[in-house]
Symmetry: C2
Subunit: 276 residues, 2 copies
């Protein structure tokens, strides 16, 4: 007889190389309620934002103007929770294991599904996530501290880089930091620049103080990673940015995924390198 | 004393290597009313579409879902005719030498400026244009028939490739055809795939009948180019597509540039290769 914890480890292992459809199914049926990092490897996992239709055109322009933190994967039809292009068998109301509901610029609640909250005027946005290029960096011979450490959690910071506003939406860019060996810095830029759908190339290299982050211990969320003596801190746009924008702009309503609890699409990462 | 015709040639030659600001100025001040192909070389020229705000979110999703014919350069703020990112000194109402006004799916009129037609609820869209990658192909050693022939006009066809619809917007993709030497086909794909902002890689290679174009003489607009015995017809998404979509969807109002009369942005083509 398995313990609950052993069953959880088995479920996670089974989803590691599963098709994204199975990851979505496991979440929808309540068999998985944890983070999705490391699951359905090779497929694009997406950050989620949902806004009422009257804010959707503004938010879409915001994403287009800020492609590093908010690289668009798909914009859903108003009222339609099904990502017709990137996950035709998916449902944005049920296939994310944890959602955050922001109201008037404040985190109002975290919920396990959106069946009762979803409305006909909701518009869903899927945005690429760094999980995709992390694997490409590993494949390219760049070890990543936050994956070595086992938690899979990365340090996320609020920078002072102002996003380009659109309509009511504004706010500073949230960034993630990866310590990269100095000898592999160029390689890390080369690889990530091939994945604009996964935040693309870095927004900053070197001292965090230059982008408003003087203290590496003061994280927005995630887990601090040490920078070694032969390493340089490298900063990328981060999919937590919409949450910070919901707060800074005070939009009446925005629903996002909870950090790490992503939406698994059917799109292969390898098919979305630049030029393809 | 110059004749009018000689003055026109001088003006065109001067604008050939001019900054886009000067091209826009010449059009705004009435010194140039012709096509802009071959001017401000090295800078992105843009296809233009303007729709009322209530259709703008739908049209924006349409562009995102059809990036080959409609690669977005910038979406302007509602009511603002100034492209703040791509041409801060520009004005969408005056800097295009000829506009087309579509009403209820029909071409209603062609006008020289939009000063009297522009309204506070108009939203401007700028989309990349093949002028940008034509230069890259020339630089890469691929001669292009429509540029050799001196007119600079390319054959444009209506294909049977259905664009992905969004809201009310739908229609077939308009494509342009370039005859490419068979030995340079791979090179042409390689080069154009680096410029998704200029329609990117081809949508079809070979017989036009396979995309609903059995008769190469039946053009939508432009000028027929012969395909030689050692050449293959190669087809790219074309910026005339929004005009066909205005007709097919019957949108109450859409204003576009007239074919060849593009909006010159300040963005350098070379800075918008993939990965940059």
């Amino acid at each position: 007889m398995q313990t609950a914890s052993a069953s959880r480890i088995t479920e996670r292992d089974q989803l590691r190389d599963a098709h994204p459809r199975e990851v979505r199914g496991a979440i929808r049926e309540g068999r998985w309620d944890g983070p999705t990092v490391g699951m359905a490897r090779g497929y694009i996992q997406a950050n989620v934002a949902i806004v009422p239709e009257r804010f959707a055109f503004d938010f879409l322009r915001f994403c287009l103007r800020n492609p590093k933190p908010c690289p668009l994967v798909e914009v859903l039809e108003p009222g339609d929770p099904v990502p017709r292009q990137s996950a035709p068998s998916g449902d944005l109301r049920t296939d994310v294991s944890r959602y955050r509901v922001f109201r008037d610029g404040q985190l109002a609640e975290e919920v396990r599904d959106l069946r009762t909250l979803w409305r006909k005027n909701h518009v869903g946005f899927l945005m690429g996530c760094s999980v995709s290029f992390d694997q490409a960096m590993l494949d390219g011979g760049i070890d990543l501290r936050h994956l070595q450490s086992g938690t899979g959690r990365i340090a996320v910071y609020e920078s002072n880089i102002a996003c380009r506003p659109a309509g009511m939406f504004r706010g500073n860019m949230i960034v993630s930091m990866r310590p990269i060996p100095k000898t592999l810095l160029v390689r890390a830029v080369e690889i990530t620049s091939q994945y604009p759908i996964a935040h693309g190339s870095p927004v900053h290299v070197g001292d965090g103080a230059e982008i408003g982050i003087p203290d590496m211990a003061r994280i927005h969320s995630g887990k601090v990673n040490e920078v070694g003596p032969h390493e340089v801190p490298v900063w990328w746009g981060c999919g937590v940015t919409p949450q910070a924008v919901a707060v800074a702009s005070g939009v009446p309503e925005m629903i996002t995924h909870a950090t790490g609890h992503l939406f698994a699409t059917d799109l292969r990462v390898s098919a979305h390198r630049t030029g393809l």
